[in-house]
């Protein structure tokens, strides 16, 4: 994921970020890691420790990107997403959310993604990769960690029952290939090289998958969740 830094990031670009996490230590750590504005271009404009605070801070500061923890007092990340829905879809300066969590339970991951988050990374991510992901989300792009790609592949795995909405409930062959390579740990640039397509095309495939994940009728996802005793 690092290879995009020179293309999109760099100190000449700025992104305003709000950190939402109920652990102060973790916020401090992230702040120290990515908040050196001169070097990274990331400016942390606000912090919040629970759902109510998060909504207030996000409304007041209107950041470009929110780093959102999945487990939060007051209803969790999903609740923040629900209450900020209008800001997400705003035509001007939309607020984008990137889920940042220590959990790798499928229900948490799929939950925030369906709630409208543009991506999901785990807390073990390195500072550089996180900065890179933040910029990518700012561009409206989707950020898939290998693990998230695995979850999605699993959720959309071909089933016997015919999907209700063919376009929404199925991944195309190409999207599946792209996801598989992400799950195998490839960076976008490497995927592009492997599949003989441009990085832009990789990005559009990933965004398409994210859209399907957020909008598809619940048919496949519900079945998937049921099979794992998540619902």
């Amino acid at each position: 994921m690092t290879e995009n830094t020179e293309a999109t990031g760099g100190p000449e670009r700025r992104v305003r970020v709000v950190l939402v996490d109920d652990h102060r230590m973790f916020r401090t750590g992230v702040q120290a890691e990515i908040g050196r504005t001169e070097e990274t271009g990331v400016e942390v404009v606000g912090e919040a420790a629970d759902v109510d605070q998060a909504v207030t801070v996000i409304t007041a500061t209107r950041p470009e990107v929110v780093l959102l923890d999945v487990h939060l007092p007051g209803g969790g990340g999903v609740e923040v997403l629900r209450r900020c829905a209008s800001m997400m879809s705003a035509a001007e300066n939309p607020v984008r959310f990137l889920a940042l969590s220590v959990s790798d339970a499928a229900e948490d991951v799929i939950g925030v993604i369906r709630g409208g988050a543009r991506g999901y990374v785990t807390k073990t991510i390195t500072g550089t990769d996180l900065v890179d992901s933040v910029f990518r989300v700012q561009d409206g792009d989707a950020v898939f960690s290998p693990r998230l790609a695995g979850f999605v592949l699993d959720a959309f795995a071909s089933t016997d029952a015919p999907p209700v909405d063919e376009d929404m409930d199925r991944l195309t062959q190409r999207e599946r290939e792209v996801l598989r390579l992400i799950a195998r740990g490839y960076a976008y640039k490497e995927i592009a090289k492997q599949l003989f397509i441009s990085v832009k095309t990789v990005e559009s495939h990933v965004s398409a998958v994210l859209r399907k994940l957020q909008l598809s009728n619940r048919h496949e996802l519900t079945r998937w969740a049921t099979a794992r005793r998540l619902v």
Partner: protein
């Protein structure tokens, strides 16, 4: 997918303690009647047949065998486990936890009642003549009781083993049959003792008395049941809290202490933290793995991949990120593939570990199982590897080919190495 991962339960702390005392359980597996003989055989380490013969022999000694069997049935709780290996019978309690079951008062009372009943029965039989009339109704009642008692066993068993729907009907039928037998036996008693004409009167009186008791004691009974279930709920909650506390104490606190002590050794700290993180993650997010023994062999692909990755991670101190899509049971070919994958992971951790986490990806698609292991190390040229280095050629490529699969190795000097293993599952 984190489907069937074992819950690594408090392995750190339970080591120094001595094994739990051997406890006698009736066996739920492969039992003929109550599982007494099987349970005993397991406990004593004898073949089941011997125990059964002893019971049978004792049965001819004035029915002593039957009496003994009944006593065991009542007093000994039902357990799970195979009986061939004696130890598994006692250590595995119903829900995987260790249970300290004491014979409760109800069971002791039942035992005493049964003894008295049996003595009366034997006494009556010995008198001969007139007593013959009582034998049949008594036997009827006995058979009915056995049916119902066994029913109770099944109800208990159903709590920790899921019982299919269709069996539930059968159980209901059996319960009803038991009640009917007991009822019939009692009716015959009444008919034998008095005359059939009095049956109506007796029944009316009995019903009147029962109704009266129900009216008087009803409210108390309801209250008592409510109190009991509430108390049970509280106890379950307290137990769960205690278990969480115990787990956190055993594993997390233990690891944190070790980390403090080894604060200067970065590698060791990372290893401890990673192992603990993995364990806690499993415990928190994979509740379906509950109660599995950590030592037993993985049965599914996903579990096998995760297990292998965890072992390599612990041994070589390099993080492995594992993503599994789909799952399937392991067969002989897949086991070979797992061995090859493990070898690939070891190589990746050894030679490519400094480039960051090793990516392990496994996917089950239809009948094909695909595994890729990728590192971001310096990479190497396969052709330039000396011929005496058999690791890659034999353990990975050769093993896959021998078992009908394919292995591909891609390595870019400076760009990491990727091993792709593909195998068809054996046909069922």
């Amino acid at each position: 997918m984190p489907t069937a991962t074992t819950r690594a339960a408090s392995s750190l702390a339970s080591d120094p303690e001595e094994p739990p005392p051997r406890k006698l359980y009736r066996s739920a597996d492969g039992r003929l009647l109550g599982g007494v003989a099987r349970g005993l055989a397991g406990h004593l380490g004898l073949p089941v047949v011997w125990v059964r013969f002893v019971f049978l022999g004792l049965f001819f000694a004035d029915g002593l065998g039957a009496l003994l069997y009944a006593v065991f049935w009542i007093v000994v709780p039902l357990g799970v486990g195979g009986v061939e290996a004696p130890r598994s019978v006692f250590e595995t309690a119903p829900d995987g936890r260790r249970r300290l079951r004491k014979p409760d008062k109800g069971q002791v009372f039942a035992l005493v009642a049964l003894l008295i009943g049996a003595m009366i029965f034997v006494g009556n039989v010995d008198m001969g003549g007139k007593a013959d009339r009582y034998i049949w109704p008594t036997l009827l009642i006995g058979a009915g009781s056995v049916l119902v008692w066994r029913q109770a066993d099944n109800a208990r068993r159903a709590r920790w083993m899921e019982v299919g729907r269709s069996r539930r009907v059968l159980q209901l039928a059996r319960g009803l049959a038991g009640v009917a037998l007991v009822g019939l036996g009692l009716a015959v008693f009444i008919v034998v003792r008095g005359s059939a004409a009095q049956l109506g009167n007796v029944l009316t009186a009995a019903i009147a008395v029962l109704t009266g008791i129900a009216l008087l004691a009803g409210p108390y009974l309801v209250r008592m049941t409510q109190d009991l279930s509430e108390e049970r709920l509280m106890r379950i909650r307290a137990q769960e809290r205690a278990e969480v506390a115990a787990h956190v104490h055993d594993s997390v606190l233990h690891t944190l202490t070790l980390i403090q002590r080894n604060a200067d050794d970065g590698g060791e700290v990372r290893r401890l933290a990673r192992a603990q993180e993995r364990e806690l993650r499993n415990w928190l997010y994979n509740p379906e793995g509950t109660g599995k023994d950590e030592d037993d062999e993985p049965e599914n692909l996903a579990e096998a991949v995760k297990r292998a990755a965890a072992e390599v991670e612990d041994k070589h101190g390099v993080p492995l990120e594992v993503v599994v899509v789909g799952d399937c049971p392991l067969d002989e070919r897949l086991t070979a593939q797992m061995q090859a994958a493990r070898e690939a992971m070891v190589n990746a951790a050894k030679y490519g570990g400094e480039g960051g986490a090793v990516q392990v990806y496994a996917e089950v698609e239809g009948r094909t199982v695909f595994v890729s292991v990728r590192d971001r190390g310096p990479g190497f040229d396969l052709d330039s590897v000396p011929g005496d280095r058999m690791g890659v050629r034999e353990s990975i490529i050769g093993r896959m080919q021998r078992n009908g699969g394919t292995a591909r190795l891609r390595s870019v000097p400076g760009g990491g190495t990727e091993v792709e293993l593909e195998m068809e599952r054996a046909s069922e």
